[in-house]
């Protein structure tokens, strides 16, 4: 187990390095620099700026410098916003994205799994049909539409939620619903179908024949097995929700991390692009690792040795 985790963390670092290298080379192959703007700068000033940020060094040297700083936990300084470091941006934006994201994840798991199980247990009943209908609607309606309608109906007409910004628990309602909608519907459907699959298995029949209570059959024998596909989906989902959705942040005017990323790419803010990409990728890969470890706990047949 420990060996496996160490091995995976090592391959995670290699993957991150490759992603970083790719991003770095793509980024620098694009024409233009952070200091390209409509108002062209005098060549001397541009030269000075290039020197200050080390952009006049050969590419490989810039790359190594960046990596060196990265290892020491320094993500660099923004080339567009004077004196703002990427560490500042992340420590400012991430709490907002992560708070809303974690509430959304809790909502998804706390509602999606039980509703999916109930719907599977009562297959083809009225409850099942209603749940499946709502879940299909949830998958079919894009999050930006949900977000805008939340904003319009609850914000503008009813005035229940603030029109934007991040202030108090009310400002959670809109973004959380918009963010959770799709995944909640997806988890419910996934849970239902995998539960139906498991309930058909022989060991469930055996458990029932042995006289175990319904609760024990479902909770102990069925649920654990049915959770595997859900866990597979939930890992990457958590990563993308925690780091924030650009669209939701845009609609609700939230000061999250997504904003910085979109800005940085259009501004050609090299350090910010690099760092936020790596940050995203790290969270993503880490959550995939967590999923793999979670497998071993849910299903003892899965061994993490190789």
């Amino acid at each position: 187990m420990t060996r496996y985790v160490i091995k995976r963390i090592f391959s995670m670092i290699v993957t991150l390095l490759i992603i970083g290298t790719l991003t770095f080379s793509i980024m620098h192959s694009i024409p233009g620099s952070p200091f390209t703007s409509e108002r062209s700068l005098p060549p001397e000033i541009e030269q000075a700026l290039m020197e200050k940020y080390g952009l006049d060094d050969p590419l490989w040297e810039q790359y190594l410098n960046y990596l060196g700083d990265l290892v020491q936990g320094d993500l660099g300084v923004s080339m567009q916003k004077l004196g703002v470091s990427v560490n500042d941006m992340i420590s400012e934006g991430l709490p907002v994205s992560a708070q809303i994201g974690s509430v959304a994840v809790i909502v998804i798991l706390a509602l999606g799994i039980p509703i999916g199980v109930i719907s599977a247990l009562k297959q083809n009943s009225l409850i099942d049909h209603i749940v499946m209908f709502i879940a299909t609607v949830g998958i079919a309606v894009p999050s930006f539409v949900v977000g805008t309608f939340m904003m319009y109906v609850f914000g503008e007409i009813l005035g229940w939620i603030p029109a934007g910004g991040f202030d108090g628990w009310r400002s959670f309602i809109g973004p959380v619903i918009a963010l959770a909608g799709f995944s909640l519907a997806y988890v419910t459907r996934l849970m239902r179908s995998s539960m139906l699959e498991v309930l058909r298995q022989d060991y469930i029949r055996t458990a029932k024949a042995n006289g175990l209570s319904q609760l024990k059959v479902i909770g102990k024998h069925a649920l654990k097995n049915a959770l595997i596909p859900v866990v597979t989906y939930v890992g990457p989902m958590i990563a993308s929700i925690l780091t924030g959705s650009f669209v939701i942040e845009k609609i609700f005017a939230l000061p999250g991390i997504g904003k910085y990323f979109t800005e940085s790419v259009t501004n050609r803010d090299y350090t910010v692009i690099m760092s936020i990409t790596l940050f995203y990728a790290a969270i993503y890969i880490f959550s995939v690792l967590l999923v793999d470890i979670a497998y071993a706990f849910i299903d003892p047949r899965i061994k993490l040795d190789d």
């Binding site: 490759i18 694009i30 930006f144 669209v247 890969i285």
Partner: protein, 403 residues
């Protein structure tokens, strides 16, 4: 002595199949047909595709045709009667547009006099002098005073008066009719929303089609090779997949957008680069378990080449999950396109996609919610259709459910 006697012909007939034997696909089709939801989805997809292909040909407008006189007019309009046969529509930019009694726009009437300081416009409609006085909007307020929320939300009717030949007419004598000129209304530049939604369908469906083709061509082959080869090759190939899936989609799009010009092409290339990843994982998983089976060993023993084993023996056996996953990749590609267009990285104006239509409508959502609702419904309906069909196919292709 011969102890064997031939059995009667009745008994031999009992062994013959009672039902016509069906091929796999005939059986799938038979089961799919019984699924009402899936068939609804299929019919909806056919209708949407038909509208996307042929709809714009029959539309009297083009997607980029602007008519500023008729900007921001809803599918349902309230028209005011000024004489027995003349009706006008009061535009909420404080001007009049002539309209027929059943809701067809004639156009802007001839302006005789326009006074922006005293806030009235005089029109000549059928020889009658019609004075549209909107000074009430300002009169109750002292100079420089801000617009209060109450005033903002007040009915527009309290803010104007209409005089015909100097006589004030009853401004509440209105009726609500359907907009016959632009059945789904117009956007901020007076472009026909329905035509633009039809054009958007073209773009969305193209994107979906590309995603499914890429899935099939790249994903299936890639996953097949990785799964069949196993070992080091598999390891390296799957690490590449991991890397691709952990680079944010947005980054790829924006980077591409700078190299190529923004537009449909960029979105298609991005989706082409990214969308086969899920399929590759799925096919690899299927192939990993299939390749241990005897028929593959038999094929290998007979000297069938690797590529033939993958294409002819392994992939057909995994066709069920492949078709379902392909079906499901279409709505998610359409989704992605709408998402990218929504954040302003998609097709550029005047081209329309459902995402850009929704994005353009965001600013005016309070006054013109229909501009957002119509493309949203289009997206949702298409998603429904593909999801229903995908679910139905999943059930129909599952041999365990075969009766």
């Amino acid at each position: 002595m011969n102890q064997w006697t031939p059995i009667s012909s009745e008994e031999t007939q009992g062994n013959q199949p009672t039902r016509k034997s069906l091929t796999y696909w005939q059986d799938v089709w038979r089961r799919l047909r019984q699924n009402v939801m899936a068939m609804t989805g299929l019919v909806m997809i056919l209708i949407i595709s038909g509208l996307a292909i042929f709809g714009p040909m029959f539309s009297p407008y083009s997607y980029s045709e602007q008519n500023l006189q008729l900007a921001n007019i809803a599918p349902q309009i309230e028209i005011t009667k000024i004489t027995d046969k003349d009706y006008v529509f009061v535009h909420n930019e404080y001007r009049l547009v002539s309209v027929t009694a059943d809701g067809k726009f004639i156009g802007a009437p001839e302006v005789v006099d326009e006074n922006k300081i005293n806030r009235y416009i005089t029109y000549n409609i059928d020889g009658k002098e019609v004075k549209f006085d909107y000074s009430l909007a300002m009169s109750n307020r002292k100079k420089g005073q801000k617009v209060t929320e109450e005033e903002e939300n007040a009915d527009m009717k309290t803010k104007y008066d209409i005089f015909v030949d100097g006589e004030k007419i009853d401004k509440y004598d209105t009726k609500i009719v359907l907009n016959k000129t632009n059945i789904m209304g117009t956007d901020t530049l007076g472009r026909d929303v329905w035509t633009r939604v039809l054009y958007g369908a073209r773009i969305s469906l193209t994107v979906g089609l590309v995603a499914s083709v890429v899935n099939l061509c790249v994903g299936v082959v890639y996953g097949g090779i990785a799964g069949y080869e196993g070992g080091k090759v598999d390891n390296i190939m799957m690490r590449i997949v991991d890397i691709i899936s952990s680079v944010p989609l947005l980054l790829i799009v924006i980077l591409l957008m700078v190299i190529i010009e923004p537009g449909l092409k960029t979105i298609i290339i991005t989706i082409g680069m990214v969308y086969w990843v899920g399929m590759a994982r799925l096919v690899r998983g299927q192939v990993l378990s299939l390749k241990e089976q005897e028929f593959v060993l038999a094929a290998r023993a007979l000297g069938v080449t690797k590529s033939k084993i993958i294409i002819k023996h392994l992939i057909p056996n995994a066709i069920g999950p492949i078709v379902v996953s392909m079906m499901m990749s279409i709505p998610s590609a359409i989704f992605t396109e709408a998402f990218l267009s929504f954040i302003g990285l998609g097709v550029s104006a005047p081209e329309a996609s459902w995402g850009t239509l929704a994005n353009d409508a965001l600013g005016g959502i309070r006054s013109y919610p229909y501009q957002l609702i119509i493309p949203s419904i289009a997206i949702a309906l298409t998603m429904f259709a593909f999801n229903f069909l995908g679910d139905g196919l999943r059930d129909a292709l599952d041999p365990r459910l075969r009766k």
